[in-house]
């Protein structure tokens, strides 16, 4: 390995393939959207750390498990201990993600710190699957209750920050259009996508939205706004997130994603849905029997727009709901949805054309990083005929992320992902507030703290300059 700067020396890689368990079936190589998995058929595969975007799709597809009856025999318990994985996490596989449960547990148990937790939208439609419920079971109340039982002092929600992202990103889009800024604007919520732009298309990084992802915005607000509301020292806040995504572990460690005068990490530890399920099982919590409890206010209040961030096309629709309502031609009276319909325009790609603030605009959404190539080539060549592009690395969006419950072989993956997406859509439709700008907690945040989207303070806390992942490498 060359003398690259290392973000977190001594920290295990986010994604790894155990050569002792890998059978060389190469299904991980087939599913990798960036061709980072290499090796001959029938032999252990390796990951090109420079190219890997840490999406964890290889982790999801790997079936090579450790069994005591293998020749030579494997000791699954010993492998689990070596990886710092929970006894309750089930079988161990060749392709695996780093387990950060111990780090999260230390933060929660530290009496000198106030443990605040956030959960991405997709967590509430996937967690229950680890307890035997059908794919797509919607359990936001049990999720909040479970996190409280684990000892979190404050149970907030990434979905609130998704609403804040809508405010900032739609304002950024309108500003770039008005001021002749770099277009098309790329969404920056998906850290695997951001890393792909930085590593494979570095010349296109100025197209990325300067918005931090909702995870990082939530963390930054925990250690500023939330801390000030309750009179906590920002440095005493322990910021933990529960994510459907393995790339979020790397994102949280990036030096660009620190805030405040002390440059505190926005997020101190990231656990996946499967890690949270193991934690709940270890703690003897009967998930199915938990009562429904609300998230804490104000950073746990969210709209339907924030909810749909968890599925492909959702960030776009959420941003357009607000953009249309704030500057659309009377569309806000039509209902909470943007009314802009995307139609298929190639594998994993959908496109819509519409008018906004007197501008004729086109937007595309991309589901699956493997489908983004031709669009990026067009952007690089200056021939792209769209102004806004949402990309989610995992096919279907975060509900299919590398940290979501791993489906057993034989289970229809497309049907399970569709059920999870459907559950997010149902959750959106059932909420009283369905647009980010109508979320009273968001309105209050701007009135009392941020002033307005793209304000000086919001730039300090919620925006960043991308382009560093290539230097940072594979932590």
């Amino acid at each position: 390995m060359s003398a690259r700067p290392v973000i977190a020396p001594g920290v295990a890689p986010v994604i790894a393939i155990d050569p002792n368990l890998c059978t060389g079936c190469r299904r991980c190589a087939e599913v990798c959207p960036v061709g980072a998995v290499t090796g001959p058929q029938g032999q252990a595969q390796t990951i090109d750390a420079e190219r890997c975007v840490l999406c964890g799709q290889c982790v999801q597809v790997c079936c090579a498990f450790a069994a005591p009856f293998d020749e030579p025999a494997h000791d699954p318990a010993a492998i689990r201990r070596q990886r710092g994985a929970s006894e309750a996490a089930g079988p161990v596989f060749a392709a695996h993600a780093r387990c950060d449960l111990d780090a999260a547990k230390v933060l929660v148990a530290d009496p000198s710190r106030v443990a605040m937790v956030q959960c991405a939208p997709a967590v509430r439609v996937t967690l229950a699957e680890e307890f035997g419920l059908a794919p797509g079971s919607l359990t936001p109340g049990k999720l909040a209750a479970g996190l409280r039982r684990l000892g979190f002092a404050v149970v907030y929600d990434t979905t609130f920050a998704a609403d804040v992202t809508v405010m900032e990103e739609s304002a950024e889009l309108l500003a770039r259009i008005a001021e002749g800024g770099r277009l098309p604007l790329f969404t920056s919520c998906c850290p695997a996508w951001v890393r792909h732009v930085e590593t494979a298309w570095p010349e296109l990084t100025p197209h990325l939205s300067s918005c931090k992802s909702p995870q990082q915005m939530a963390g930054a607000l925990f250690k500023s706004y939330a801390a000030s509301l309750d009179g906590f020292d920002p440095a005493a806040v322990a910021s933990v997130s529960v994510m459907p995504c393995t790339a979020k572990k790397h994102e949280a460690a990036r030096p660009e994603l620190r805030s405040g005068p002390a440059a505190l990490a926005d997020v101190d530890a990231v656990v996946t849905v499967t890690e949270l399920a193991a934690w709940l099982k270890e703690a003897g919590i009967d998930f199915a029997a938990l009562p429904g409890e609300p998230f804490d206010a104000p950073l746990g209040r969210y709209s339907g727009a924030g909810v749909i961030f968890g599925a492909t096309g959702g960030v776009m629709e959420a941003a357009l709901r607000t953009a249309v309502a704030l500057c659309g031609e009377g569309r806000e009276t039509a209902g909470p949805e943007s009314g802009i319909v995307f139609t298929p325009a190639g594998p994993g790609v959908a496109r819509a054309e519409f008018e906004l603030a007197g501008n004729k605009l086109a937007a595309v959404t991309v589901s699956g990083l493997a489908n983004v190539g031709p669009l990026l080539e067009a952007v690089a060549a200056g021939t792209a005929d769209f102004q806004f592009m949402e990309v989610m690395c995992c096919p279907g969006g975060c509900v299919a992320g590398g940290g979501t419950p791993k489906l057993l072989p034989g289970v229809d993956v497309a049907a399970a992902v569709a059920a999870r997406r459907q559950a997010l859509g149902n959750h959106d439709r059932a909420l009283p507030v369905r647009a980010a700008h109508a979320n009273p907690a968001v309105t209050e945040l701007y009135a009392a703290f941020l002033e307005r989207p793209l304000s000086h303070r919001s730039h300090e806390l919620l925006h960043t300059v991308y382009g560093g992942a290539a230097k940072g490498g594979h932590d």
């Binding site: 059978t23 029938g42 069994a67 079988p91 307890f131």
Partner: protein, 189 residues
């Protein structure tokens, strides 16, 4: 169970699906209620990979040798009745393909236990999970059929129905003969 030669990629999806089909589980790996114990085994050797499972012999040597009639043949194939099995391993010794294994076996959702003398208590016993005969049962209680066949991403596994195999072979042979005869007539003109 039949494996298409060369099609198996050695991924172990069949083993995992098999294990999951024989215990209480939801749709995810994390919902498995105990460590996975399959009833077919992926064998890898010098560039070859293939899952090996019970062939459900008509004159099954395992059934013939079983001293307690725990292994028996019925219309669905060769089955093991855990309640009758004493773990003597005679079936394992005679199986010509190595498909019989000794494993922790569940009966009605609970591990079958054995009693062994407790050295600490004279005349006392302790109970521990018994290792009993374990083999493919063609997922007889699963309406969709064998889980391994449905789970194989390479389409390498299929369920052999002897009558169907014979019908397809006869048809292929008849076609080949007819084509050869027709070719001979063409040449004769």
């Amino acid at each position: 169970m039949s494996v298409t030669p060369g099609a198996c990629i050695g991924c172990r999806a069949c083993e995992l699906a098999c294990a999951a089909a024989h215990m209480a589980a939801g749709a995810t790996v994390g919902s498995l209620t105990r460590p996975p114990v399959p009833r077919l085994y992926l064998v890898r050797e010098a560039g070859t990979a293939a899952p090996v499972a019970c062939r459900h012999c008509e004159a099954a040597p395992c059934a013939a040798v079983c001293p307690t009639a725990a292994v028996r043949c019925d219309a669905s194939g060769v089955v093991v009745e855990p309640a009758r099995c004493i773990g003597c391993k005679a079936c394992l010794a005679v199986c010509p393909v190595g498909a019989m294994a000794m494993a922790e076996v569940q009966d009605h959702g609970r591990p079958v236990l054995r009693r062994v003398p407790d050295p600490a208590v004279p005349g006392g016993f302790v109970e521990e999970p018994a290792w009993l005969a374990s083999k493919c049962d063609l997922c007889r209680e699963r309406p969709a059929g064998p889980a391994c066949v449905g789970a194989c991403p390479a389409g390498a596994l299929s369920l052999v129905i002897p009558g169907e195999v014979r019908r397809v072979r006869l048809l292929a042979a008849a076609r080949a003969m007819a084509a050869a005869a027709s070719g001979a007539r063409e040449e004769g003109r």
